[in-house]
């Protein structure tokens, strides 16, 4: 027996437990630090960027199929918040590029009047949500008034512990609120057996870093009335020359965003002109 083993066996069972817990916490911290090296939302890149990641197989065929429709991609940090963050960026960027966008005012009204009223109705404590709500309203106000241009937007939404995180978390609250407003409709879709909407929101929606399932994807798209088209590059077969896609939120919305799903992750897609 080595000396190390002696030390380990002489410590009490509680210490062993604490030791393994500490190690896993250290590893988690490492992963977190690695993740933080990538930007929250990257520069716009050509879609060919994806080819380099896949050498063969259905993924590469999928990338080729995607290239027929899309020209660009913006990578979003893989920290578990990617769907909400991608949604936020794509929405703000769309409104920023066209300050006369007919949907801009509707989004602002939704945030200021509808979302805040519903957040309070489903029982959130105003004091805890207020500052996140204010950040989200301020961002959309600045975007539709034209006081932030695309470059400034990219810069602002890449600042650590700032606008992007605050707004991303408010989108989580909007998502949870949408689910809580109609629990009977959504409960059957909760994958965890026997879990109620309130519990689901507390465990899977409200904490930062919790990845989302289709239920959250649908709820956020519906709440904002934004059409979210998601292309699935997940190794499935190509159907009729295209990768599988699904549309969430209202079909007829004048506001549409495009996302790429790869297992466990979302990025933002940019369609070629009038291709999708």
């Amino acid at each position: 027996m080595t000396q190390d083993n002696n030390v380990a066996s002489s410590s009490d069972s509680g210490n062993n437990f604490a030791e393994s817990f500490r190690l896993s916490e250290e590893r988690m911290k490492e992963i977190e630090d690695e993740t933080k090296q990538s930007p929250l939302t990257s520069m716009l890149k050509p879609l060919t960027e994806l080819e380099q990641q896949y050498r063969e197989g259905p993924f590469l065929a999928g990338v080729a199929a995607l290239q027929k429709l899309y020209g660009g991609i913006r990578m979003v940090r893989g920290d578990g918040n990617c769907y909400y963050r991608a949604f936020l960026f794509a929405l703000a960027e769309t409104l920023c590029q066209d300050t006369k966008h007919p949907e801009g005012q509707r989004i602002l009204t939704f945030l200021k009047e509808v979302s805040w009223k519903h957040v309070k109705e489903v029982g959130y404590n105003e004091m805890t949500i207020e500052m996140f709500y204010e950040e989200a309203v301020s961002l959309i106000e600045r975007v539709i008034s034209g006081s932030v241009d695309a470059e400034a937007l990219l810069k602002e939404l890449n600042e650590e512990n700032s606008t992007s995180d605050y707004c991303t978390w408010y989108l989580r609250v909007v998502t949870a609120t949408h689910l809580k407003m109609d629990p009977q409709r959504f409960e059957p879709f909760i994958e965890q057996p026997g879990m109620y909407v309130a519990q689901f929101c507390r465990r899977e929606v409200e904490p930062m870093g919790k990845e989302c399932e289709q239920l959250q994807v649908l709820a956020l798209a519906e709440a904002f009335g934004v059409k979210v088209r998601i292309e699935y590059l997940d190794g499935h077969e190509i159907v009729a020359g295209d990768v599988i896609h699904h549309v969430f939120g209202p079909e007829n919305s004048a506001l549409q965003i495009y996302l790429l799903y790869r297992p466990g992750h979302y990025d933002i897609l940019y369609p070629k002109k009038s291709s999708v």
Binding site: M127, M131, M208
Partner: protein, 194 residues
């Protein structure tokens, strides 16, 4: 962001109020809102009933994106709290934290944890083992610890007893605090200093 401090001020106002919740917190020293001393009353009908448990609360820079750091200062016999260090094993103080929660809701969750221990996810393996294998002994020990360490009067009485041995109140209290209210250790130190 400016909002975070504003929220903390509002939270402190709420949690320092003397209400019926049985939980309170206030800054340890004026001018530092990020280091608090909290108290949780032992829930009635439990082995912690009648005790007042002190908790050290530290609010990090990322709050409310990160949970407040909490640790029991008062010794407590509970499967999810270290009997040695006071470290707490509770999901909302770790990965289940969300900015929708507050210092007050976290303290109320601690109170709920005192009502319903979760020995399957222990912080203190020895306590959890006793909880599962010999509930009677667990109850007896936990009650004894509550009586010995968490009764507000028990500390004053201990100071009183040490004073009666001929030491002044300030040194008696200081020595008792230093030795975590172990009377004989405190008296030994006081005697050694003479």
């Amino acid at each position: 962001m400016a909002g975070a401090n504003g929220r903390l001020v509002k939270e402190l106002k709420e949690v320092s109020k003397n209400d019926t919740s049985g939980v309170r917190a206030a800054p340890v020293s004026e001018g530092n809102l990020r280091h608090l001393l909290a108290t949780v009353e032992g829930p009635s009908g439990t082995v912690y009933e009648g005790g007042i448990f002190e908790i050290n609360v530290e609010i990090g820079k990322q709050y409310p994106f990160e949970p407040p750091k909490m640790k029991f200062l008062t010794k407590i016999w509970h499967p999810n709290i270290s009997s040695q260090t006071g470290a707490i094993c509770l999901d909302i103080l770790k990965d289940q934290w969300s900015p929708a929660l507050t210092i007050k809701t976290a303290l109320l969750s601690l109170q709920a944890l005192m009502c319903s221990p979760e020995p399957g996810d222990p912080q203190d393996a020895e306590v959890a083992k006793m909880y599962l294998s010999n509930r009677e002994e667990f109850d007896r020990t936990a009650r004894f610890w509550t009586e010995s360490f968490a009764k507000p009067t028990s500390k004053d009485e201990a100071v009183q007893r040490v004073c009666e041995m001929g030491f002044d109140e300030a040194s008696a209290r200081k020595a008792l605090e230093k030795h975590k209210w172990d009377e004989s250790a405190a008296v030994n130190e006081l005697l050694g200093a003479i």
